[in-house]
Amino acid sequence: MIDDDVITRLVDLHDHIKPPETPFGADAFRGCRRGSAGSPRRDDRR
């Protein structure tokens, strides 16, 4: 089935994407501490 091959290749690419070394969690914590009332970048979303 050709669609299966397409999906397999897409999943294969997904599985081989290398995440950054920097822990995202640390960045998120900093964002919360910097912002106010739990939404660190509220002003960006008008």
Binding site: I17, P20, R41
Partner: protein, 170 residues
Amino acid sequence: MDREPAFSDYVAARRAKLFRTACLLCGDSHRAEDIVQDTLARLYANWVRVTRADDVDAYVRRILVNSHYSDRRRPWRRETASTTPMDLPLDPGIAPEDADAIWTAIRSLPPGQRKVVVLRHIWDLTVEQTAADLGISTGTVKSQTRDALAALRRALAPDFGRASLQGEER
């Protein structure tokens, strides 16, 4: 406060998948980092409420997709044509030319089709779950999935796909 260890555990377990998902959604690894960071910041802010939910992943997935929408609305973050060279960081085990072909193909899809394909085939959601996540009808999910797979099939077909994509990029 004891939410930080639990939050950190969740992030450690899920951050790779979130980053990979964001890459496929937005088509840019640098933007994907921003989107994941934004998603995790919002998750942290709502952690207590989120952990009461039945499915934390579902909540996080919706934040991720909404972050993608928000990110795209910013004027300096407009979608660009998929003509830039591949800058996707890859682990060993996949042929670069194959990765490049798939990366180019997925980036050539309209954002709506890209979201449906990612939710259906990367997150393994049902049609109904995908529709609920995106706030669209099940019929739209089906048609977008069909159109997306047809486009990917054309793009990834030997010879024809590469020639077609190169033609579109000119």
